[in-house]
Symmetry: C2
């Protein structure tokens, strides 16, 4: 029997709250580090050696996870429970990559949802292969070489981060041919203007992505693109013949006249969880081939299966989530830095920022009641080693502690490296990651010159995989998705709605219709030079 309780109503939270931060500065050791690795999907390992927790803390975290029934709730979600309470919807993004619970079928809207997602996947395979082998050409008979996704938020950040991440893969990862992928997201017309510069429209396919089909930015950018196509006036170019849509089946977008193809998602996949649905699938399959997208799905699926484990010491995602709760609610840290030591992952922090902050930045519980404890932290980050030459100063010597989540790989992704001063660039990259974890944890005293002293005790974890393959990428994506889900269960919130975005939309409409007498909107409109 599943029960939903606020964090502060649980018995185990009281016990957890009494546990002081474990002193990693003085207790980090080779044995501790080696004993703090949890194997996840494929080669992925989560290591929490530099986190301020010991066996007692972990026992308390296990107790809280058990009391809040995290695995039971995850199973309920997978079985089709309406976990998105505010919107009364199922939550099915895991099902887009495979069935996590054997034999469990999820019926909704008169279809079995696993079959439905698989059907769309087959459509993507077929369409992407036809475009990639030249069977489907542009309206003037030329092969498609560029794919431009038009979408915003979840229809942009995840797909974009994944696309950039795989930039360097080649035949050894199952990618035989690469198309160029680009993205237009912002309603700022300068975004489309910059992206379309130098693009050969006769060889370009646009992917319009909006679940509702009413997203202001995406419709505005669609019209901008059509305008440019008509302005460039290439004989025989039929704008709509260069467009596919990803949307829900009730959406007006699905009815764009003369559109080339439509792929469906549904209300059970939140935008920020949609990278493994057609929202990410169409552009990833077009760009790198369907097989690569399939490997991403397989990596995510394997990770979804790992997350079923009840023992926190054998479930890296659960451990990550629960340590995060301890950092947030007991140690009161208001932020977490996500720091991938991989330039290819340079937009992954922006995706995880949405994933986490939009899911868990909530002030009410899943029943809509105001809660009295902290929920999701602010997430930010940039790739290392770049960040080391930027904001790490504050992380090392600032007046507040910022927990860190590192990501690293044993091998490089591309085929270029060179030695300089006795080591390769890849080894230098890894050496820096190792050095930072230890520097943050242990610090260095300097009584004579406090400006050169490092307090230490700055907590971090690290996710490590052999190499940034499509499979590993899918696993890392799912790790973060499931971490956020688990934390939402602990906090008893609904991680799958986003009511906080509504007021801005309402007021923006009001401004566009002349402010309706609202003097604040009028005054700022005047400042921004909006004419009525």
């Amino acid at each position: 029997m599943i029960e939903y309780k606020n964090l502060t109503q649980t018995k185990s939270y009281g016990k957890l709250s009494a546990i002081k931060a474990y002193d990693i500065k003085h207790n980090l050791s080779g044995a501790r580090i080696e004993g703090s690795s949890i194997r996840e999907a494929g080669t992925l390992v989560y290591n929490y050696g530099a986190m301020p927790v010991d066996g007692k803390t972990i026992d308390a975290l296990q107790a809280l996870a058990d009391e809040q029934q995290l695995i039971e709730k995850y199973r309920a979600l997978l079985s089709g429970e309406r976990m998105n309470t505010g919107e009364n919807r199922l939550v099915l993004h895991q099902l887009t990559r495979g069935r996590v619970l054997d034999g469990v079928r999820v019926e909704a809207d008169g279809v079995e949802k696993g079959d439905f997602y698989n059907g769309e996947l087959e459509k993507i395979r077929d369409f992407s292969e036809k475009v990639r082998n030249g069977e489907i050409k542009g309206s003037t008979g030329k092969e498609i070489t560029t794919v431009i996704q038009i979408g915003i938020g979840g229809s942009d950040l995840g797909p974009r981060a994944l696309c950039y991440a795989l930039n360097l893969i080649g035949p050894e990862d199952g990618c035989t041919k690469k198309l160029n992928a680009r993205f237009i997201s912002n309603v700022d017309p300068d975004d489309a203007c910059a992206v379309l510069e130098g693009v050969d429209l006769e060889r370009t396919l646009f992917v319009l992505v909006s679940k509702s089909g009413t997203t202001q930015e995406t419709l505005a950018n669609r019209d901008l693109v059509f305008k440019v196509m008509e302005r460039r006036g290439i004989r025989g170019l039929v704008p709509q013949k260069h467009v596919v849509a990803v949307t829900s089946n009730t959406s007006p977008l699905a009815k764009t006249p003369d559109i080339l193809a439509v792929f469906f998602m549904d209300d059970y996949i939140g935008g920020r969880y949609s990278a493994t649905s057609p929202v990410g699938g169409v552009i990833l399959s077009l760009t790198y081939g369907f097989d690569v997208f399939r490997q991403i799905l397989d990596g995510a699926h394997a990770e979804d299966v790992c997350a079923l484990e009840k023992d926190i010491r054998r479930n890296g995602t659960l451990m990550d989530a629960m340590i995060g709760v301890y950092l947030r609610n007991v140690l009161k840290y208001p932020y977490t830095a996500v720091l991938p030591y991989s330039q290819s992952l340079h937009r992954m922090p922006a995706h995880f920022q949405q994933l986490d902050m939009e899911s868990n930045g909530k002030h009410v519980n899943r029943f809509g009641e105001v809660i009295d404890y902290q929920t999701g932290p602010v997430i930010f980050g940039e790739p290392g080693t770049n960040g080391q030459h930027s904001f790490y100063q504050l992380l090392h010597q600032g007046t507040d502690i910022v927990p860190m989540q590192f990501i690293g790989f044993r091998e490089k992704e591309g085929n270029l490296d060179a030695e300089n001063g006795g080591s390769t660039s890849q080894t230098k990259l890894k050496a820096n990651l190792v050095a930072q974890i230890v520097a943050f944890a242990c610090g260095r005293d300097n009584a004579e010159n406090p400006n050169k002293a490092f307090e230490g005790g700055r907590p971090s974890s690290v996710l490590v995989a052999d190499r940034l393959t499509p499979f590993a990428l899918g696993s890392i994506l799912a790790h973060f998705e499931n971490k956020v889900m688990f934390q939402g269960f602990v906090w008893n919130i609904n991680s799958f709605d986003q009511e906080g975005v509504q007021l801005g939309k309402i007021l923006a409409k009001k401004v566009l219709s002349g402010c309706e007498g609202d003097e604040n909107l009028m005054a700022y409109s005047k400042l921004l030079g909006i004419d009525f």
Copy 2:
């Protein structure tokens, strides 16, 4: 007579601390908004209408600014005082764009520094014109069409953010021809690998940037690039003939054999303040023309002059800085979001993140004594409207308050726009900005459904200019630089060193030389697969 006191030693801080947050939720009005604009350089305006301050707070902020002698200290800095106490160095980045104090000459190292910077500027003008008009060609006789900067931290973020920002400018902004600009920063070999893909090396000029000439990442990437050049083995291509350096005049980088040209900066320009020095000047002048770079300098210089004003109500930068201190030290907010409503500024938050966090993330005062109050906040951000569909959920409805700094423009930068649903994209962009400020400040009650309630009282300011011209860009850059400087004076810290980056460098070297028996480094090295 200038005096240096810790924040908590001042009389005025005690008074400021007693002032409660002004209730903007119930007091925002058309008149308040209109009365809260401060004109800065050119068309730039800083508006603080939605900040939780009233006349009393502003008087207290003025008193604190006066007691901490902010303008006097700024003047001292401009006059050549050794403001970078830890490193015993002058701080002269403002001088790279002009003399802020008439007739003040700054002698150091046997030269007058203004003349020295102007001399380098003339070298940049001459060199960039010769490359752009084809007088200087690549070593195989082809015109240069691509410029790739190799640098990290301050040698990357600022120049890159400015380069991207001007992506859409054309002849009306003084740019007659555009070269392609690209950047390699990370020691991760995948960074160079991705950037060099598809680049025509015969037509490429590399700009190596490192003040010390010893930056690990930059030297490693230089060698990677040379390796690729040799590997591609084009007849007649002489790698070194495609390279210029920006460095200090004692640097080993200046002695790269057969290098095409060297431009000098010096120890008085911190990396994060170097965008207006040759660090930014060479690539900006090559990419857009020297005249465009000159306009950036002029915009920054005009802003530097505005910042001399003692009256906080007439100095937007000072107001911004002091309100930031109030938010940080009295209201205890640990972060600030920087949110430009301009896709062209998409990397500006990353630059401001370095600028602020590396400058003011300090735990000792300028004399190296540990302090007992908070210094710089965590800075993060993404462009709007993108962020609205991502992390704004937490900003609106999260359990903590995150202050925001918006940036907006009345006109678009490029030449593309279209109407959709009765308004242009640019108008929609601005309407969203207006809507967000008011939504954050005023919120919306909803007693029946707290999930649809917005608490309001979420503070923000906005910087507005007519259009993102090179001049406005320079002004915005200098606004943030000077804001950070003023806050450093209030906190009595040295905003111009970065001792916090040292320990990581030392430990990385230790790892590369086999860990020297450090078991923590050994254990993490093993996890990352570093072989010894």
